[in-house]
């Protein structure tokens, strides 16, 4: 199956670690993905917030290009991008008038038959648990990992069609494959404040703080995410949150691809783990010690 790759803007910018680690593990897994040529921004929250048609048209251009190039399936590692692509696809499937309007504007047809995968769907559905398990060279046993899903992977369920919207387990299953111990906590799908990071930093810090302290309380060593937006709120804002609430967190926030990479025995540097704001040194050291013992 030919697989198209829609990186989205974040993976080329603030969350470059996500792309680096993804490409690295795919290299190890011996799998290939092809970037959609000349892709454009999906419009993110801004488009659907103030211009509905734009929020469908922008993603549709990418899907139409992928379709034209003969792809049936696309991977969008960014949860926000996959959410927007799925939303556009859903609307185009269910609203013929809108579809005509959009395809007329794009001057490209789109049949709305693309299978759109978020990172977790890709790992479980396309790569497969067995293959991942077989690649685990350095099991991370003894490391406690909290999976944070956020909003965009699971909601709205009728469009996302992914996992249980209240108690998702896919990322925890992936964590378990690496040998690490999944940590249960209450705020797996609570919102981190997402796009309002820049415009309402106080709100975002309150929401993100709730999540991080709950994770900490439940004894996690680190957090994994599959969304650049979640990552920047949980990682970039963490020092500020610690200062605001005057309580240390020290929770490294890794992308799920990085955690898998570590268990595959890939050098943390190759996974760009040093690109995060919260240093993962302590956990990496712990992992090194553990794997040395094995």
């Amino acid at each position: 199956m030919k697989l198209a790759y829609y990186p989205g803007c974040s993976l080329k910018g603030t969350s470059f670690e996500y792309e680096v680690s993804l490409l690295k593990i795919l290299e190890v897994l011996n799998m290939e993905i092809k970037e959609i040529p000349d892709w454009n921004c999906c419009g993110a929250s801004a488009a659907h917030s103030i211009n509905h048609n734009l929020s469908v048209a922008l993603p549709a251009r990418n899907l139409a290009i992928a379709e034209k190039d003969g792809y049936e399936s696309v991977l969008a590692p960014c949860a926000a991008c996959s959410n927007r692509l799925k939303n556009a696809d859903y609307e185009l499937k269910n609203d013929d008038i809108l579809k005509k309007k959009i395809t007329d504007s794009l001057e490209m047809p789109y049949n709305a038959e693309m299978s759109i995968n978020n990172m977790l769907e890709f790992l479980i559905g396309v790569v497969g648990k067995d293959k991942i398990k077989s690649m685990v060279k350095k099991p991370l046993s003894g490391i406690k990992v909290a999976s944070y899903y956020g909003c965009l992977l699971v909601r709205p369920p009728k469009v996302m069609q992914f996992d249980d919207p209240e108690n998702p387990v896919t990322m925890d299953e992936l964590v378990a494959l690496t040998g690490a111990e999944p940590v249960d906590y209450s705020f797996k799908t609570e919102c981190c404040g997402a796009i309002n990071s820049l415009s309402k930093p106080d709100v975002v810090m309150a929401l993100t703080g709730n999540i991080l302290y709950d994770i900490k309380k439940n004894g996690a060593d680190l957090v994994v995410v599959a969304c650049p937006l979640c990552h920047s709120n949980l990682d970039v804002r963490q020092r500020e949150i610690e200062r605001k609430y005057d309580e240390k967190l020290g929770l490294p926030v890794l992308f799920i691809t990085e955690l898998l990479g570590l268990s595959f025995g890939i050098d943390p540097k190759d996974l760009a783990i040093d690109g995060h704001m919260v240093a993962a040194d302590r956990v990496l050291k712990k992992i090194k010690e553990l794997t040395n013992q094995q």
């Binding site: 454009n40 309002n196 415009s199």
Partner: protein, 182 residues
Amino acid sequence: MKTVINEQNRRNFAAQVESMLHDKLAKCYQCGKCSAGCPVNFEMDYTPNQIIKMTELGMEDKVLSSKTIWLCVSCNTCSTRCPKGFEVTGIMDVLREIAEKKGIVSKVEKEVQMFHEVFLDNVKSNGRIFELELVGKYKLKTRHLFRDMFLAPKMLEKGKLKMHGEKIAGLNQIAKIFKDFE
């Protein structure tokens, strides 16, 4: 607090929202589950269920200039849990779009609105987001020049902020999309 209902205005506004939303306002029976689960409710001036009721009653000015519609982060918790399957998140999008088209600027939450506008400008001129430019323009516009500036050096050091943006080849297509739908 008092509202005099003008039947014609009420109908017009409710009908406009319903047609954009593809959903019926009367579906909502005001159980409040949306407001109960909303992560940003604590900052809002009206709770989401109040916004729905006010829309139904035609309280256009209050709704369109509310903080609530701009504080909503579209996390979809409300829609997901709504027992009536009402598009609560959807109505926020619709109200924002109407406010934006009418040029109503939220007095209190203008920053969120500006962020969206700057963001789309960035997409329009590059096809993709050039984060440094986005942040810069946003800061100029809001004049919050120094907010979050302490993050910049470390982000630069980590390689998170690229100094050059890319423009996509099909910019003319993007321009057409914006022309058609703006």
